[in-house]
Amino acid sequence: MILVGIVILARMVLTLAAGIAVLPGIVLAGAMIALGAHRISLILRARKAA
């Protein structure tokens, strides 16, 4: 999830010249990275608890 988020972010950043139109793509990439990080933190917490 994090990887795809980074790929989308990189591709959208390349089209920054299009202005505000890149915003939904950047939000999507950010949400993907956040969800990936959230899942990793949950896994780490579960392992720590075990």
């Binding site: 795809v4 989308i8 139109a21």
Partner: protein
């Protein structure tokens, strides 16, 4: 037999839902929405579909956070209706619950309808425009079948829910990852946004339809009553659920606008089209958008074309079933709180299911189905719809009402959250939505939730968009509410209960009981200590 008249204590729901079960419960409800919402929004939002989803998505995150806080603080199965009743009083609690009931009845029809649409991808005889009567009969059979199964008390197991949810999350993640890696072209997305930006009216319509993709958060609070240690588990699973649903909605809309199709798509005259252009003025395509998109992923699409329609149809059918089950459960909770006649609490002596609630709300779902199918079945009705209702099709009619019910109940939930923060600052909140303004109300420290205000403005705008742009929704939605309020006033008058005011309730004792039953004994102790300190402070001041 009326449950309220028995002297024995009410049986409690078994707390057996695990964190994954809690996520799967929510996902099987909300996760299916994108299968319907995507095609509708692409049809009206065109190049701004992703912006419509972004706006609705931001509002949805606020709603999700509000439900998470409320469900973790008050883990009872009543959902939005309970929170609003506790914060704003009986009448508003009834209106919120009645709007949720509208959504649940629509949920039954809309999801059964769309389940048949997805099946039609593999069985062309079920295409609505080609065989409207067959489509109608199959949807009707599904609704009646689900009603029958619920009367018998047969539900899909939590394990089955979890399995389908896991399969769907995996499948959708795979489709989106492969789609963004191999079929997504940012220049196509930018081109669609620049040259196919819709008129303001269409954008409002698309935004109000986009909220359809985020309906079903009631399930968070429904699951709360059956989850072990809900105050700890609900926030964890809810955040994952909110982010997952948001990502899927944003990802599908961006991918659909920037998709370079695997197979060329052309119009009747042979001109090349972008993928999203197959949705406007084509109700058949709107009903199975995810299946059509997955087909266009290079190579993987050949495999996805076979299983995505089946997976979509199953997920939608589970969601349809949750409408039958959820409406009877909400009606039961409302009836227990004296917001609906005790008739809705009656259970079948043999099957132990709320048979009257199930049959009543399934009958409403059937009436809605007839209204939705009428233009396709009867040509003269189609002319009537074209003249008075902008020629809306069946799917749009159902989505109109779905958006109206959701926007109404969510608006009240935000107000309920604000009211509860002000009136009940002593209840421990293990999860609190961020961005609060500290203040003092009646001598107590209170955190005023800014996010709730932002969310309310957002969802209220969507409600206004719905009323402005949905020709059928603005008639049938308010009519449903007015009829409900008349029923409520008549019932309250009959029972000699306050008609516009609220019954007196001991919320303190109830909250202690809720936390004890939830197994949140630390929170219960904290709550009792807060009450003691507050009472001592007041006594000192006096």
């Amino acid at each position: 037999m009326s449950v309220s008249k028995t002297k024995t204590p009410e049986p409690e729901l078994r707390r057996s839902v695990t964190p994954w079960g809690s996520f799967a419960w929510g996902y099987s409800d909300v996760g299916a929405d994108i299968f319907i919402g995507l095609g509708l929004v692409l049809a009206w939002g065109a190049g701004a579909s992703n912006v419509a989803f972004l706006f609705a998505g931001v509002v949805y995150v606020c709603i999700g956070l509000a439900y998470t806080e409320l469900a973790a603080t008050y883990p009872v199965a009543g959902g939005g209706q309970y929170f609003v009743m506790r914060g704003l009083g009986d009448l508003f609690g009834f209106i919120a619950g009645w709007a949720v009931l509208l959504d649940f009845t629509i949920d039954v029809t809309l999801f059964a309808w769309s389940s048949v649409d997805y099946t039609s991808q593999l069985v062309p005889a079920l295409v609505n425009s080609a065989h409207p009567w067959l489509h109608f009969v199959v949807v009707l059979s599904l609704v009646l079948g689900l009603c029958f199964l619920n009367v018998l008390g047969v539900r899909e197991s939590t394990a089955f829910n979890g399995f389908v949810s896991a399969l769907d999350v995996l499948s959708e993640t795979l489709i989106l990852c492969l789609g963004f890696l191999f079929a997504f072209r940012p220049d196509l997305l930018i081109h669609a946004m620049h040259f196919n930006w819709p008129a303001p009216y269409q954008l409002m319509l698309a935004t109000s339809l986009a909220i359809v993709s985020f309906v079903g958060l009631e399930s968070i609070s429904q699951a709360a009553q059956e989850t072990q240690r809900p105050a700890s588990v609900i926030p964890r699973t809810s955040v994952a659920l909110i982010l997952t649903i948001l990502i899927f909605a944003l990802a599908y809309s961006n991918l659909a606008l920037g998709l370079h199709p695997w197979h060329p798509i052309t119009d009747a005259s042979g001109h090349a089209m972008q993928f999203w252009q197959i949705f406007p003025h084509n109700a058949d395509n709107q009903g199975k958008a995810v299946a059509l998109l997955s087909e266009q992923i290079p190579y993987y699409g050949a495999f996805a074309a076979l299983y995505v329609p089946v997976l979509g149809a199953v997920l939608l059918l589970i969601s349809s079933n949750s409408g039958v089950f959820g409406s009877s459960r909400i009606a039961y909770a409302m009836s227990s709180a004296n917001l609906l006649p005790t008739l809705f609490q009656r259970v079948h002596p043999r099957f132990r299911t709320p048979v009257i609630s199930i049959v009543f709300f399934s009958s409403i779902a059937v009436i809605e189905l007839i209204f939705a199918a009428l233009p396709a079945l009867v040509p003269s009705a189609s002319a009537l719809y074209s003249r008075f209702f902008h020629g809306e099709n069946g799917l749009e009619f159902l989505a109109d009402l779905y958006a109206f019910g959701a926007a109404t109940s969510y608006s009240f939930v935000f107000l309920g959250l604000i009211a509860l923060r002000l009136q009940d600052p002593l209840s421990p909140r293990k999860f609190k939505i961020p961005l609060n303004i500290p203040m003092r109300v009646r001598g107590e420290r209170v955190d005023f939730p800014l996010i709730a205000v932002i969310g309310f403005i957002g969802i209220f705008s969507i409600l206004l968009f719905t009323l402005r742009t949905h020709a059928l929704g603005r008639i049938f939605g308010p009519t449903w509410l007015v009829l409900g309020v008349i029923l409520y006033l008549f019932y309250r008058h009959h029972r000699r209960l306050p008609m516009l005011g609220s019954q007196r309730r001991d919320w303190r004792t109830e909250q202690v009981g809720i936390l004890r039953r939830a197994g949140e004994l630390e929170l219960m102790d904290e709550y009792l200590a807060n009450l003691k300190a507050s009472d001592a402070r007041r006594a000192g001041q006096a």
